[in-house]
């Protein structure tokens, strides 16, 4: 039978299959962080259970670590306890931990690929919804809750209902690929299919608009699959994928023989059936800016804030949602996006804090200063990204423009550490969620690409970055 890539990976990981009901699926890689794991380790202790495969489990601390001055103690006592708890749990159960002082520390979805832990054709889980990021390598990767974290620690498996394969084709060529980015592609997709458009599915992104992208750009696409409600996003591996993973710290010794196998097997058969399909043509897409309180509430930078009627197209529930969103965001319908002033800029997160993101943003910033009323920060996705960027002199470009240059972590994407918005502050953010209070209680988030965020920092309001010379 002809199969999709997702079905091939799924079938290759079935341990127990039942006629009706979920299958027991083997998990090849388990990534662990400080926030969603303490209760799972406690559960193991209470039941006198071990971690079945510590050699398939990797931990780091990213969600609540401070991003400035790592030599100082962590002031927030509850964060400090959570970090110490992870250290103790990894020590007790024999798990490799990249702690706050490790050169390999960083956002779990940034370090996985950088260290060669993420592999094509594998199953990867983490107690974090943005685990979908690793799908860029042709891995079946998805977020799980803490009970499932405990289940994987104890058994290296999960009971799962088989999701539906969803094909999203991205066709065409962007006219200005420096200004119209992978972030704009995925925001356009979510705007069109909605935040629940992918519920119950695994998306496979296909087409020349995807194969043209670099690995880091593909990660941005797969990362936000969860914002469309999908359990996972996948891209079939190609030579770019194999090259990216070659020679990394944990790349397997038999890598080339694995590559030979992946090259032949990890692709959707030509007649395989997708139960759902959507196509985005990208020839004419422009930079995107979110205006509301979910990532589907997004429009072109050239547009104005829509009215709730326009946005909801007759759906009363969506209309009420849009009214509440505009009230929360303190925005009026009809206001041009480029007239929205901002207070803060955040370049960071598992969506957009890789080296390429920082290089692109630095081109906008170079030789300029940020607006006098804006506070802006760059939080590299990992300490490795930070080091590479510093070797290229990017830190200097950003700090000369009055950006803050920080250590790695999730930081203001979710504001669990001291990096938060104050009530009422408006932020141009390269992160993935513009939910109410996400970046700080009362804070207002606009999701944009790294170049759009950088351009907004300079201007003090949103600008169409296509008007700047980025080559």
């Amino acid at each position: 039978m002809e199969k999709t890539l997702f079905e091939k990976i799924w079938d290759a990981h079935i341990v127990v299959e039942k006629k009706n009901g979920p299958s027991l699926i083997y998990i090849d890689r388990h990534l662990v962080h400080e926030v969603t794991s303490p209760q799972a380790f406690d559960g193991l202790r209470m039941n006198n259970r071990k971690v079945r495969r510590p050699d398939l489990t990797i931990a780091t601390m990213d969600h609540n670590v401070p991003t400035n001055n790592r030599t100082l103690p962590i002031l927030d006592q509850t964060s400090a306890i959570q970090i110490q708890t992870l250290e103790k749990n990894c020590n007790d159960f024999g798990i490799q931990l990249f702690d706050i002082n490790s050169p390999n520390q960083g956002i779990v979805h940034v370090i996985g690929p950088q260290l060669g832990i993420t592999l094509p054709g594998s199953t990867i889980v983490c107690g974090d919804s943005h685990t979908s990021t690793h799908g860029a390598f042709g891995a079946l990767a998805f977020g799980i809750g803490t009970s499932e974290v405990e289940h994987v620690l104890a058994s290296q498996t999960l009971w799962l209902e088989k999701p539906i394969p969803f094909e999203i084709r991205v066709e065409g060529k962007r006219k200005n690929p420096h200004a119209v980015t992978a972030k704009d592609i995925i925001l356009s997709i979510i705007k069109n299919i909605g935040t629940s458009g992918g519920n119950g599915t695994v998306i496979e992104y296909r087409g020349d608009g995807i194969s043209d992208l670099s690995m880091e750009q593909r990660m941005t696409i797969c990362n936000m699959s969860i914002e469309a409600g999908a359990r996972a996003g996948l891209i079939a591996p190609d030579e770019k994928t194999f090259e990216y993973l070659r020679g990394r710290k944990y790349t397997p010794k038999n890598y080339e023989s694995l590559v030979d196998y992946w090259r032949d097997n990890l692709k959707t058969d030509s007649d395989a059936k997708f139960e759902k399909k959507y196509t985005l043509h990208i020839d004419d897409i422009v930079p995107q800016v979110s205006w509301g309180t979910n990532p589907g509430m997004t429009c072109d930078v050239t547009e104005s804030i829509p009215s709730p009627e326009e946005y909801s197209k007759g759906d009363q529930n969506q209309k009420r949602g849009a009214e509440k969103a505009l009230e929360y965001m303190a925005l009026k319908p009809g206001t041009p996006i480029t007239e929205i002033k901002i207070d803060r800029v955040f370049i960071g997160s598992c969506t957009n804090a890789r080296l390429e993101d920082l290089i692109e943003a630095s081109k906008v910033v170079k030789g300029k200063k940020i607006s006098s009323y804006v506070r802006a920060m760059v939080v590299p996705g990992s300490q490795m990204v930070k080091k590479q960027a510093e070797e290229l002199g990017l830190d200097k470009i950003f700090t000369d423009a009055d950006f803050e240059w920080r250590d790695a972590g999730c930081s203001m994407c979710l504001g669990m550490n001291p990096d938060i918005l104050s009530p009422g502050e408006r932020c141009a953010s390269t992160s993935n969620r513009n939910f109410e209070g996400r970046q700080g209680t009362g804070g207002r988030t606009h999701l944009v690409s790294p170049v759009m965020a950088a351009a907004a920092a300079i201007a003090g309001h949103f600008v169409d970055v296509r008007e700047m010379d980025l080559n």
Partner: protein
């Protein structure tokens, strides 16, 4: 895990769509290292004002819903972050049933690990339930919801139903498949990390 059979209470109507888990329990409360005590943080930014006083216009603060165990909300409930703390907060607060037209996948799965029954119904029925002013009975064994005027059947996967009815320990059940897991590992192509 606590088992679930039947509840009969008033319905708490939450007239919102796309309720994300950041709203169900905001990030500043994710730092606890235990599972208990999250109820007081449920819908924190909607329930409390800046001075940590209860907001009178939020439905959970209406005293008549104090003992309600059934929450009925709009489309796509529980979207966003995978945080199971959202389910722990609902459970600790006192809810054991959540009804919506659709749920985000991870939230839906987390419910069954914690004795909470998520029920999916069509939008007309959900809207009607939100207007219900007398007690409603949710009976998992018979898969029905009884209101004062009608009986509404609902679907649930038989495996998930069993987990809730029996309060099964998922891990103990899985570890019975040790032989199959070991055999799988012997033929796996993906090598260890270290």
């Amino acid at each position: 895990m606590q088992s679930f059979t039947k509840v009969k209470t008033l319905i708490t109507p939450l007239d919102k769509v796309n309720v994300d888990t950041d709203q169900i329990v905001p990030k500043q409360f994710l730092k606890l290292v235990q599972k208990s005590g999250f109820g007081k943080f449920l819908f924190y930014n909607w329930r409390y004002d800046d001075n940590e006083q209860l907001k009178s216009d939020f439905v959970l603060n209406d005293l008549k819903y104090k003992n309600s165990k059934i929450l009925v909300a709009g489309d796509n409930f529980g979207c966003g972050s995978s945080r199971e703390h959202a389910v722990w907060a609902l459970q600790d607060y006192g809810f054991s049933v959540v009804i919506s037209t659709s749920f985000a996948d991870i939230f839906y799965s987390n419910c069954f690990k914690n004795g909470i029954l998520p029920i999916i119904l069509d939008s007309k029925t959900v809207e009607k339930l939100q207007q219900e002013t007398t007690e409603v009975e949710v009976d998992l064994k018979n898969q029905i919801i009884k209101t004062s005027s009608q009986t509404i059947p609902f679907d649930i996967d038989s495996h998930k139903k069993k987990i809730l009815l029996e309060g099964l320990d998922d891990i103990a059940h899985t570890l019975l498949y040790e032989k199959q897991i070991s055999e799988f590992e012997k033929q796996s192509k993906i090598p260890s990390v270290l």
